[in-house]
Symmetry: C2
């Protein structure tokens, strides 16, 4: 089963306390599609400018990612520049240039419209709606979001929640969107807004997964001594989760499937932060992933 990923594709300038790199492949769709490609076919919808390096296109193609939905527009690719402070938990955006992304209107190639699993990676809720308008009865729709959309497009975001099966967001966003301090209350309240499942990401503290009838899963993070670049960790998590679900095949998605998907998404995210951009994920083999998942399970086993 294939997964459709729609989101941003960017060239990132990233500065950490230890290093600085420019024009890295970034954006929510790049990370998410790459992570999803570990589990099966991926269809990508996004936009880049004429300056987008062929090497990045080749990298995505090398993973079997279908780029029929990639628009190459006149102008420059979306640029983001940010800096992480000493503990890598605080990020400051230095500049954003939307460039061709400003006029992005996602168009699903005919072959994508019946995608069973759709990941609406982090982009404006209006664009996420537009994707769903073109899709034919997807089996499972996952939406990611960010604080910006809660601030400037809350109504459209709330409308979107009624159309998706699962919402992924971080702890601060969950609190912001619900007005609840307790993440447990926030997660449950978000489910009442539409999505059957809600995943609340907590960075180094892992992730909380909420389902119906009190279903709940708390997943710690994989223990890392050093983080080199946190950019894209959440997108990698979401992409790995969506890809894992697609890779499971045609049966109905259960809470157990989602627990496994969260573990695999977390494992991929733990690789991702070990280097800039997709540099670490590029060299991860299926055996590396299986080995980290097995280690991960030992680290959280209570029996």
């Amino acid at each position: 089963m294939s997964v459709l990923v729609v989101g941003s594709i960017a060239l990132d300038d990233v500065k950490t306390p230890l290093a600085e790199q420019k024009a890295l492949l970034g954006g929510s769709a790049s990370y998410a599609a790459f992570a999803a490609s570990f589990f099966g076919p991926v269809n990508l919808v996004g936009i880049v400018g004429r300056d987008f390096p062929q090497a990045h296109v080749d990298l995505l193609k090398s993973r079997g990612i279908d780029l029929a939905g990639l628009q190459i527009a006149e102008g420059k690719t979306f640029r983001w520049s940010g800096e992480y402070l000493w503990d890598l938990n605080t990020r400051e955006t230095r500049s954003v240039a939307l460039n061709v992304f400003e006029t992005f209107r996602p168009e699903l190639p005919e072959a994508y419209r019946s995608a069973p699993i759709i990941l609406l990676a982090n982009i404006a809720p209006d664009l996420q709606h537009r994707v769903l308008d073109q899709a034919r009865q997807p089996r499972f729709v996952i939406a990611d979001t960010m604080d910006l959309w809660i601030n400037i497009a809350k109504e459209r975001l709330l409308e979107l929640l009624a159309r998706v099966h699962m919402l992924i967001l971080n702890d601060g966003e969950a609190r912001q969107l619900t007005g609840e301090t307790s993440l447990i209350r926030a997660g449950r309240k978000l489910r009442e807004l539409g999505p059957r499942y809600v995943a609340v990401k907590k960075g180094e503290h892992g992730c909380l997964l909420f389902g119906d009838k009190g279903q709940f899963f708390s997943c710690p993070a994989y223990p890392l001594e050093d983080i080199h670049d946190p950019t894209g960790a959440g997108d990698t998590f979401a992409g790995g989760l969506a890809g894992f679900l697609a890779g499971r095949g045609g049966t109905e998605i259960t809470f157990d499937d989602l627990r496994h998907a969260v573990v695999h998404g977390s494992a991929l995210a733990s690789f991702n932060v070990e280097a800039f951009s997709l540099d670490r994920l590029k060299s991860v083999t299926p055996e590396d992933l299986a080995s980290r998942v097995a280690e991960f399970r030992r680290f959280v086993a209570t029996d």
Copy 2:
């Protein structure tokens, strides 16, 4: 197998955003001993003043806690007064009156000196040393501590680490004591200072347990919608953990035992924060505990 608990016994005035209560039974040893009593015999060493209510003595006795080591001194019982801010994560100490605690010199009754498991609950490192000086080859010594001792008695604390098998402390304290931002690095570094095992408590995010040869366990917290009073959660965790280990009987303590102990300590701490003082723990039955542990395990299962 019995567990020896040494620590503070206090009368607490606690204010939360919702309520305020005065002269509650508190102190590290009260919470820890009560939690340990779920698993077997407990010997308590502590000090109170003449004003200490008989009802509190009776409560501890009702749990089978041996009070031969409880000193009743002329003067007033240790008083602590604190307030929790709106999200209950921030605590402000309003006042502390050490009273009889200022002259506390722990004395182990002869029958306590061969205790196989010793929990040095949060008190000054000097007093923790004094307890170990009186003990005869304990099988497993656990020490809890707090930021105050890192600030004013760091040398004595470091000397203590070489004498204990396990250290329990919270995330901020682990960072403070090691100068490491990463809790994973901090936990491993603390092991190099002496203790074979280190548990780093993260409040609502659970606990990290470090052992030798890369042994590691990440335990999320039990999901609670509401927290009524966080006072004593860490002491309850430590006491439950120590009690569980004593209850396991005479075989050598393994990392697996500690994983189970962490789960039981966490479950008891999750009850504790549901009401002021020991009000919730008082009514918890062995069946309630078993049921919460089982639920807890389901919530974190990855298979």
